[in-house]
Symmetry: C5
Subunit: 359 residues, 5 copies
């Protein structure tokens, strides 16, 4: 359990990139071992071809400049292959650095011949929210995507390309970029839906008799998770907002209404995040009230028990004294009279606590 | 009770729309079974005709292009009929998607020949605030409205159309749009008035002796309700604000002052929401203070009882000892003297607590 | 007492105006029974005439177009008379609606021939802050003012007009408008001064021994009062700010420096409101600390009493046992030795608590 | 002690100025009795003359239009003298009102021939932060300053003028204005340094064993002091910011870089104020934790004492019973065996609490 | 320990600079004793020369105007040497003041022939975050840097210059400035990484059984540290932002993309700071909950012990009374029956507390 709170702060250590020459490519993620896999898809309205490889040279042969090319790279630790790709497409070396720097926040940059977009994919793996760095380069008739590991978020898009479903094959590279961003953002919905389920469950558990022991830990974890999601979503909202307003010939006017739709979605997600955030922060207050209420109950039990029996014990103590002359002791029914008095005191006490609504 | 907190987070699950082709119409609401009902009202200054049907084809025949047509659709689960309507009026397929996507937040879009507005109706059903998705398309001489189920919020407008009350029959489609938005926003007043009543009741209940057990739950529920209302109202305020400033020939200059009035109303509602929000958040603090005060009272009773009787019991214990030589025991009035001492101690104690203002 | 918290939320119920035709005049205030009273003041540099009536027709006769006319209406429930006035001065029917809608927030509207200003007067009545709706129409040479009931806030202005004190008689209608707004805002100073006195008193009461029982209630009431004041003041600040920057021939350039002065005043009031708000919110924390400190003190008394006497009672209990062979009991000075031991324990305990600084 | 909290809210009562004709000069400060003292300093690169008087007429004779004149007025309660000065320099009557209205917040106004600046001096007097109203009029070759009482903040500037140290004598009136503002703002540093010392001391006192009784009061006082400082500093930051950007021939371009430096200083002060504010608000939380920790300790002592001795007392009570047949009582070593058992229980209890880490 | 909280407020006392002539150089740091050391590096694409001295005159001889000169000064207390440098490069005397005023916040100023940048270096020394004042002057072909003491943050840049690694030797002075700012900002990553480690450790410690005694102190210290870091980072973010957008011929267009990269980094740092801040503030709540939970546990033990044994002691007390006629005492098995009853009561109590889930 003690490992959980780390989740918030889990991020690529920046130490690696400190004191390096700017533009140096350093993969700072935690997926060092993943093999780099290249996939090229050439398509237009009428045709679709797909090619997989681990060598960039092989892949370049396959690129068909007359069609739209989607070049997807899975795995960022093999810096040499990525560098060759960067040289092939003449990318700025600072962009090359950002592609493998998984600590880079979502952003968009307009360059002469292409747009550079950084985003984050969020998905569940073993009950934890995983954060995956993804970069896109959109050119006139190509789209390059760089992912940390082979995720399945883009599969529906691949399928639509292959089966020519929807409008995707007849459109240009910017529409493909939209389709991929749409897939990423659609996935956020799943993540925040799950978030909301966890909040509901935790909140409900606070209203039942015995909340679990690790409530604070779970609240703390929810806090850090929502902060992490926010850190991925909010800059991406800016990115999409800028895409919508951008006047760049790479973005066809027919794509703009789709991007506006995307913007709608990510604004909706942001609003939900803010609401969940507010609810999570409220949970701590709620829990404090719960604890205080329980303490109150404990104290009442103690006070009632003590207030009833302490005076009675005192009375019993009195008649346990060994004075030579204690007239009551010699009365015949003294003992029974005393029992009577004690029972009366007992019920008076009960009545008193009843009236105070402690019972 | 444990079901209540869900209310905040109750919203159409987004899962359904994930990984779909953009522009795909998917009804995500919870009113799947509702039949789709179409109603066409043709009117101008002098005439008024109303036609109800479940078939779009029948309805189209009724549309009179020389008059203003209000085409109202109740029920969004019958996607085919809505699609036919969309084709008839040449609506963009992303708009078609938004019409049935009840998760869509309020927004306004300017298109070539029409305006597209999404809003939320809020009303009470069985003590809960229900949230209904509503879309409007305003064209040159037609207004399309799409609702989840047949509500009665628009009935006063229908009546004014039928009886030619007010200015509505002599005006164009944008005025009808204003009248409907006005009906929606007027309804918000009812919802926040009810909110304020519930806050008052809860606040008052915190000042009486025994607050109900589920105070925290009610506060939590109020929190989530106000957050939900806010999520419907705030984006709509933006929508109305943009409508006011929009320079579009679909909005006649004579309608603008009405829209400004509408804007005033929704700003007023927003301000109230913020005030209620602040009051609700304050209730939790108030409740904490109440609990702490009660705990204080409980502790005082315990402390007074214990502080008085524990020393007395000790004294009684002393003279219950069996030492062979305890001179006091043999004194004739020892017992009565002791009673005297104990009564004095008792009153000194009372005086002490009185001075400390604990009694 | 339980009625107090209502004060925050006391506002005209909006229910009355729901589902009405826009532009319908409905008085929603709580002063239905007040008679409507009209007062016309015609003045210029050299002359001053005043006329009171309850009939608009009578009043219209009195209006002298060559002079500046101040037409003041007290009481908004008599809608017909107000309507006649509206027709006489050709006011838009939406303005007529706002004049009697006491729920309308402060605002300013520029129309063709006149400015329309809504403000709120705040003053004390029976220890409560009352909120009065006031509307102004400023035309070329007339000023209309509409109040809920006959207040005395404007009396100093009337007196200056009558006695020709200051510059007021030689100026145009916009200066009169400024003078009235100035009177309203001057009054806010009184209200917030009183607010500050109440905060001081409450704060001081938290530092003395026994805070009053209804501290939370008073804090809650202060909270709601400051929120209500804020709701009247903040939109008016915007109104004055817009007046200052407005380029409208109705506002003479010589009046602008006075309006700037007005703006200074209302900004100063707003700043004070924010400071008082922060102080009031802080009072709750202060009170919580006070409660906790008191609880601490109570617990210390209990702990000291119990810790001292419980062990002593145990010792007494030991020698109250009836074992056949208990050597100490037979010692001659056993009893006195025991007293000695118990007194030593007593003082050791006292010393222990002294060192812990609990005494 | 109960007088302290007033400090926050100590400000000139606004009551005096309510319902007055705008432009009426009313001194609202608390230094009514102070004599008004006038001082004229004429200087240029080569000469320096200084003249003190209590009569404006005398002072006017001394003004040399060929030199730069600094006209300083100490004491604002003598309104007539100030009015004469205002007439001499043809100041707007609203400015005259602001000069003596000590409630006026810092501001800057551009007029035809002069700039009008209102600021606040803060300094320590008897351990309290005093707030002094100061106004400046900067003309082409004169600077008028109006202070509530004769402070010593400007003395270093006077000395530099007299001894011709630095650049001051060779510059124009705007540089003198800068020098005086600089003196005022430099003084703020002393005030916030003292603030920081008090926060440090208080914070340190919360970590030692027995915090002083009046901790809450001191925190509350710090809160109100920082709010008061803020109210003086923040509007002045705006004033200096506007001075920096102002395009007015009264401000020489050579002075602008000095004003930028001034702006730097006041921004730095503002940042410190915000940090101190955050720290002070945090102190309350810290104190609450301290209280709770102490309560915990108290409760532990009670629980340990009670848990150990209550069962032992019960056992002693058992063998104090007077049943005719209680076999243990007759055992020879019964008493000693029981002592053994009780000692074992005692140590088991100690061990239990040790393991729970309560000891 | 009591010394720690000072860390927040540790800053150069401003007292020294109060009432000084503007432009007076006063070193206000705490490193008075450090010797001033000068280092000149002349370089271009092909050559690299380095010269160290303590005399400016010696250093000036070394400056080669045909190459790019980096003039680095370590130690600011030797004001005369710095002044000579200022005269050599014709720096404004206000800049000279800022160079040695270690209280100056990060800023950027555009002057005729050079840019002036103030920044703060943050690094660890003996477990504390040290804050070092650094100023830069960028001219056409020179860069002056002024540090408080000889730090090693710039060493990697020196090495790249010496070994001609990367692009640095072929670029102009603005690229060198970028490289140094990059080194400073890279170092921030180390500082905030350490911050995050400390938060993790503290948070984890709150979930284990016995949090350390000085938790509040550590939280308080983290608070003040994060506030201090923020004060260094946030204004620097503005500085870098302005550098990015600045249109100044001193900043080559080829350098702009590097500065954009720098901006990305500092924005990322700022976001992390805000997240850590939120987490730290949350830790206090977390700790409060922990304390309350512990108190609850303590109270439960007390309540259970007292509730079980107080009634039993009472029963024992009853049969310790000395009434002459108490029939139970004479029953043969009275004693054993009583034991039975007491054991039953004991288990009933246990069962009761078990059901209440207190055990």
């Amino acid at each position: 359990m003690a490992l959980k709170p780390k989740s918030l702060l889990r991020r690529p250590k920046n130490t690696k990139t400190v004191n390096q020459i700017p533009g140096t490519m350093t993969y700072v993620g935690r997926k060092e071992t993943a093999r780099t896999r290249l996939e090229v898809i050439d398509y237009n309205q009428d045709s679709y071809e797909r090619f997989s490889s681990t060598s960039t040279e092989d892949a370049f042969k396959f690129v068909d400049e007359d069609k739209i090319t989607w070049f997807n790279i899975d795995g960022l630790s093999n810096i040499e292959e990525i560098q060759k790709l960067g040289e092939y497409y003449e990318l700025h070396h600072l962009i090359m650095e950002d592609i493998v720097n998984t600590g880079q926040r979502p952003k968009i940059e307009e360059h002469q011949d292409y747009l550079f977009i950084v985003a984050k994919m969020l998905y569940y793996r073993n009950g934890n929210i995983e954060n995956e760095h993804i970069s896109m380069i959109v050119g006139k008739n190509y789209l390059l995507t760089f992912q940390e590991s082979d995720g399945d978020v883009f599969d529906p898009v691949r399928e639509r390309l292959e089966t020519a479903k929807g409008r995707i094959r007849g459109r240009s590279a910017d529409y493909l970029m939209f389709a991929l961003l749409d897939a990423i953002i659609d996935n956020y919905f799943l993540v925040i839906d799950d978030m909301s389920d966890r909040i509901e469950t935790l909140e409900a558990s606070l209203f039942i008799d015995k909340p679990k022991d690790n409530v604070t830990q779970e609240i703390q974890e929810l806090k850090s998770t929502i902060l992490r999601i926010r850190r991925s979503v909010f800059p991406l909202r800016e990115v999409v907002g800028r895409l919508e307003k951008m006047e760049n010939e790479l973005i066809k006017s027919s794509t703009v209404s789709y991007i506006r739709d995307l913007h709608d979605h990510i604004v909706q997600i942001s609003e939900n995040i803010e609401i969940y955030r507010e609810m999570i922060w409220g949970l701590m207050d709620l829990y404090m009230t719960t604890i205080s209420n329980k303490m109150n109950e404990v104290m009442k039990v103690l006070t009632i028990m003590a207030s009833i029996f302490i005076p009675l014990t005192f009375i019993a103590g009195i008649y346990g004294m060994n004075f030579e002359y204690m007239p009551e002791l010699e009365w015949k029914y003294g003992y029974f009279v005393l029992w009577g008095i004690m029972i009366i005191i007992f019920f008076l006490m009960l009545y008193y606590f009843k009236r105070k609504k402690w019972l």
